[in-house]
Amino acid sequence: MIHATLHAYVALSAALFAIGLLGVLIRRNTLVVFMCLELMLVASTLGLVAFSRFNGTDDGNVFVFFILTVAAAEVAVGLAIIVALFRKRQTIQVDELNTLKH
Amino acid sequence: MNALPCTIYVSFLGAVLALVAGMRSPGTARWVALLSALLAWGIALSAAVNFVPGPGLETIVNHPWIPSMGIRYHLAVDGISLTLIILTGIAATAGILFSWNIEERAGEFFALFLALIGGVYGVFLSADAFTLFVFYEIAIVPKYFLIAIWGSTNREYGAMKLVLYSFAGSALVLAGLLWAYAAAGAHSFGLHDLATAATHFSHSQQLGMFALVFLGFAVLAGMFPFHTWAPTGHVAAPTAASMLLAGVVMKLGAYGCLRVAMTIFPTGLAFWQPTIACLAIIGIIYAGLVALVQDDFKFVIGYSSVSHMGFVLLGLAAANAQAVSGAVLQMFSHGVVAGLLFAVVGRMVYERTHTRQLADLRAMPLHRLLPFAAAVFVVAGLASMGMPGFSGFPAELTILIGTWKTSPLWATFAAAGVLVAAAFTLRVIQVSFFGSASIADGRKAAPAHPLPPITLAEKAGALVLVASTVLIGLKPDLLLDWINPALQSPLFQAVLKGGKP
């Protein structure tokens, strides 16, 4: 089996995080932005697992359990908000959300 | 002696009561306000009667307020603060008498008025920098509402400008005090402790702190070029408020300069002395000249009080025993006289003729329409010119002599300022009251209906003020005997020594 170094894992999680952040910043569709948020969470999850493995402590793994739960809760709340907004505004494009003046 | 703090509490309590009473009827609010002001004044006078002049502050109350920061609620009195407390009592009583005709939201008016007065009493009584600052800011905010709600011309602009200037000044003071407090090791805000600690500060620190604190207070004292709030504010303010502004609030600034900035940082004073004196003289002459060309009666008075406060600052800057005592005397004198002038202009004349344009006033022979007002205004004018027999004379004379000791040049310029003051005062007396109807060139002629007569309240208020200016003019030692011993205290000795150029 392949033996990846810790750096590989950290690099991968950093890359995932960067991709997610990029998506959050440039995508206009709320749902896609939303997925990118989850991607950022998953990135740190990967980091935690890797660190947990290489540190030899279990804290990271436990942390991951809770992150998954929190992510699920975030999905629940986020979806609810998006649906509520869609019912009012018939759009989920971020740049069309300009009722509140800037 | 121990009754003096009650002046503060009585005023604040009176504010609350006036607010409550105002919900029932304006009349009750008026009487509540008048009674509490009289009570406070009476307390001050009774304290003055058995006041033993001596060097240094005589502690009245002193107990820990915020122990973790070494802040104490410390009230004390000496001759200087007693003088100004008496002045506050006079101004407050007169002010309430002259705002007897306030009908709209009277309760709130007198509540704010008394809150301001309470803050002023507190400043004059504090011996702890934090306590002093708290009372100082309590005195600032009511001014905004007094002017913005009950004021006249351009009131919201005037009010905002005045309050922002004052608050910016107090921010400077706060910065300086906090800096000194931190540099002193954050043990105490007591004026005495700070002064002792300040002796260990580096020279540059002293200069910086003095600049911050003095400038902050001097803004409120109307020092050139930070005086511009004063004329607009005075003009916009209702009569009683401008009486308080000129009479008492500007004194807060001067008092702060003397009691806080100068006594804590004498070294700083020694450095900045010429600058301050220069600004003071510019203020005297510039404001006088501007007053000479104003068309608005109230602007004349507004600039005149800037000019007179210039004398106070000059006396402080000269920083020798005579000049400083003269400055304090001038604070008292100007407080009374300016109150009188504003009372005549704002209440007696404007409320009846509804114009303050000198051109309009000259068209109506006011000395016949309002003889009492004319008489009072002449007295006040003479007093503010520094005519012998009125309080202005000993005050400005003492300042000039004292300043001469420090620098003859300054004294000469200031003397020129006296002449300018005489000029614009005579002009305004002549134009406003003794202009004859013959020159009515199409302007608003003499009003058809006779002007309403001067009310009893106005007469009472005017008499109080006239009496005090004449009394002090004839017998200045009444106050000087309090002031001079106070200047013997170590703190002031440091000032007077450090002040030598």
Partner: protein, 123 residues
């Protein structure tokens, strides 16, 4: 030589790929030469069992089902905690058991709440 024991898998895979490819390419050729495209409105219409279709076929479906999705998600994630709990069950102290029971109770309470609010009835 005897083939690798899994060689036939490769063979099957090759055939599995080749078969549809061949058929599709033949169909493509047939279409190209014998049956050029003649599009028309009737042809393009959505098929409604012979009835002429009405309205747009891109209608919006009600989003009510997302509540089910969310509820499912929550209870799906619950497994994440229940599995380790079940595995380590025998070695758990009373306190841990109580903690877990609190957790399950809260989830169940949530379900009951959703049920009572009528989020489980398909409207």
């Amino acid at each position: 030589m005897d083939a690798h024991p899994y060689a036939f898998l490769a063979l099957f895979a090759a055939i599995a790929v080749a078969f549809p490819v061949i058929l599709l390419s033949v169909a493509q050729l047939w279409f190209r030469f014998f049956q050029p495209a003649k599009p028309s409105a009737d042809k393009g219409a959505a098929y409604e069992c012979g009835v002429t279709p009405t309205g747009d076929s891109w209608i919006q479906f009600k989003a009510h089902y997302y509540l089910y999705a969310i509820l499912f998600l929550i209870f799906d994630v619950e497994l994440l905690f229940l599995l380790p709990f079940a595995v380590a069950f025998t070695g758990l102290s009373a306190g841990a058991l109580a903690t877990m029971l609190v957790f399950i109770f809260l989830l169940a309470e949530g379900l009951v709440w959703a049920w009572h609010r009528g989020h489980l009835e398909w409207k």
